[in-house]
């Protein structure tokens, strides 16, 4: 049975992405007791699935590693992975949280040696790679996963694969009897940091994401560019594995559109500029990039990055939101539209089309365990009606990492104020 030490001076953080980790660490490092609840088997959220960070083009693993080290060192922080908050009752300063823990089937003895993965045969779509590749039924979610502990897919439980995994483990780390648990514990304030998810590209019917293999999303492209990713870092056409030298980026895919997401997702212009550098790095002078846009929004200090990308001769910027995509006989996606500067029609074939997909809140409004004030896009509002529940990062708005982290620090301060006032009342 999992035990959590908590009081109504404890801060609960829901979601262990960069925002949730930041909020949890900031609060824990001031001496507050913090419980961090993460749905996935590891921390880091969607940042762990990026290849490089704009604007410095450094690797996100570096920032995540620092946070993971801070987490390991802090005795005030309890991390629950494969966990979800299913209930929250009470009021500001005095909540009871109900958390459901899914079985991992691997205990703390695991050394991440990987023998179990070698022993099993069944394969599954790899969610870490947005389904672009496969993973085994016994797996480490990704190279840098924290906790660095393997997971058994529930689908292999009761099959010979589960027995094979158990037999392979030399550390007695596999426990096939693990059950789902539900635990209750008190807390005084809650930080909601459940982040975002990519908008469902198949809903943008004219772009044919669900019909054309060589139309992919920007989050998938991040995985493709990663040398440890499903293609070994090669930028290729999913249809035939040929090099994707001529690439189209379609901006505002699902964003700023009353048929889809109302808001500007704010980071996708920068994300595409960054991804342009991936193509240039891969193919140099042979790269041919077309960026189709309504307006380019390189917010404040990112202007320099934009200017640098803009200066590259191999990148063309076309002011047009494409009307549709078709596929030619070679399986090349053809982008159709009218160029706003001159009203010229175009029908341009590419090797690969990347949809700069919009960000929407990951939590469906109906599934919040407490009444909460959301804006019309579904992001959490700052509102006194939310009591002791505060949003951090992507759950509050479409933000880049820098802004998400700032926002999370603000949320930590608000939560600390609540538990401080609980502490004062009890003196």
């Amino acid at each position: 049975m999992t035990a959590v030490v908590a009081t109504n001076e404890t801060i609960l953080v829901v979601g262990g992405g960069i925002s949730g980790m930041t909020a949890a660490l900031e609060a824990a490092e001031t001496g507050k007791r913090v419980v961090l609840v993460e749905k996935r088997p590891y921390l880091g959220g969607r940042v762990s699935q990026l290849y490089k960070y704009f604007p410095k083009l450094c690797f996100p693993t570096c920032g995540l590693e620092i946070n993971q080290r801070r987490a390991k060192q802090n005795p005030n922080l309890t991390i629950l992975t494969m966990a979800e908050v299913t209930g929250l009752t009470g009021a500001k300063g005095n909540y009871t949280a109900t958390v459901k823990l899914s079985p991992r089937y691997v205990n703390a003895n695991c050394t991440a040696c990987g023998d179990c993965a070698k022993a099993v045969t069944a394969e599954f779509d790899d969610e870490y790679n947005y389904g672009l590749g496969k993973r085994k039924g016994a797996y480490l979610p990704y190279r840098m996963a924290h906790p660095a502990r393997y997971v058994l897919d529930p689908a292999i439980i009761g099959t010979p694969d589960a027995e094979r995994a158990k037999a392979a483990c030399r550390y007695d780390a596999i426990d096939l009897e693990m059950q789902e648990e539900t635990i209750d514990f008190p807390c005084g304030a809650v930080i909601w940091a459940t982040g975002w998810k990519p908008y469902d590209a198949a809903k943008i019917q004219p772009y044919g994401y669900d019909r054309f293999a060589n139309v992919i999303t920007s989050v998938e492209f991040e995985r493709m560019a990663d040398p440890t990713g499903p293609t070994g870092g090669k930028l290729v056409r999913p249809s035939d594995g040929k090099e994707a030298k001529k690439v189209a980026f379609i901006q505002c895919a699902g964003s700023r559109d009353r048929n889809h997401l109302l808001h500007c997702s704010r980071i996708c212009c920068m994300a595409s500029f960054k991804q342009c550098t991936y193509v240039i790095d891969a193919f140099g002078a042979d790269a041919q990039i077309n960026v189709y846009y309504i307006d380019l929004r390189a917010i404040d200090r990112f202007e320099d990055f934009y200017q640098k990308v803009r200066a590259n001769q191999n990148i063309r910027f076309i002011k047009s939101k494409p009307a549709s995509i078709t596929q030619d006989k070679d399986g090349s996606p053809v982008v159709h539209g009218v160029d706003t500067e001159g009203y010229q029609r175009f029908a341009e074939p590419h090797d690969l089309v990347v949809l700069a997909i919009g960000m929407e809140p990951s939590v469906d409004p109906a599934s919040f365990p407490v009444p909460i004030v959301l804006n019309r896009e579904g992001f959490i509002e700052t509102d006194s009606a939310n009591g002791g529940v505060f949003a951090a990062g992507g759950a509050a708005d479409a933000l880049d990492v820098n802004r998400a982290v700032q926002h999370a620090t603000g949320a930590a301060l608000r939560a600390i104020q609540v538990v401080n006032s609980v502490a004062r009342a009890e003196v």
Binding site: R258, N259, S320, K321, P322, T340, R345
Partner: protein, 212 residues
């Protein structure tokens, strides 16, 4: 140029956009266009026009009054609704195009030879007589739209279609002698008269100052 046109120029001297907002059906939507280009790229006929919808909306904002109201493009929309379903700003593009055409017609600015405008007028006149379309007369009028010689040629070319329509009862040769009417023809005309009154009142509200 017509009197109404002169009055409108006088009234909205500096802002064609305001004129469109006040006088064109759904015209108040024009300012919502963000010039993304989806409508133009989606229009199946756009490549045959001078100005796709997005450009028309930009021209309105740029005050290109004559170029818009005298353009053939506003008459080319076939109401396929491709643009409307895709417009990220949900502009009722189709209706605006028809609204502009209608406004141009009121002002007497329609290009003389525009076939769609001509056909629309024929259709209207035909419908007014009996409250139903007289396919035979409309068809004949359409054939002879460009003169007698041309009409015979077109009629011969479409002979098969005409015969088929007669066989299936879609067209009746007897329609040449009067044709059938709606049940309450007087009522039909009354409805239209009332509609015209309402429309005139609406126009008077936004239109030229009294006496103009």
């Amino acid at each position: 140029m017509g009197e109404l046109n002169t009055a409108m120029i006088e009234r909205y001297r500096n802002s064609f956009l305001k004129e469109v907002e006040a006088n064109v059906e759904e015209g108040e939507w024009v300012k919502m266009c963000m010039q993304c280009g989806v409508c133009s790229g989606s229009c199946p006929l756009g490549k045959f026009w001078e100005h796709p919808p997005q450009e028309i909306f930009m021209m309105i904002r740029a005050g290109k009054r004559e170029a818009v109201l005298q353009s053939e493009s506003v008459w080319m929309c076939t109401s396929c609704y491709n643009c409307i379903v895709r417009c990220p700003r949900e502009l009722p593009i189709t209706h605006i195009m028809h609204g502009l055409a209608h406004y141009a017609k009121r002002l007497g600015l329609v290009p003389k030879t525009n076939p769609t405008a001509k056909f629309a007028q024929m259709f209207w006149d035909n419908l007014m007589v009996k409250g139903r379309i007289n396919e035979l007369k409309l068809g004949l009028a359409l054939y002879f739209m460009n003169g007698f010689g041309d009409g015979i040629k077109v009629a011969l070319k479409n002979q098969k279609l005409g015969m088929a329509m007669m066989k299936t009862g879609r067209m009746n040769p007897k329609e040449a002698f009067g044709g059938h009417a709606v049940k309450d023809l007087a009522g039909f005309h009354k409805v239209l008269k009332k509609a015209q009154e309402l429309e005139d009142a609406r126009i008077a509200q936004n239109g030229p100052p009294a006496g103009a």
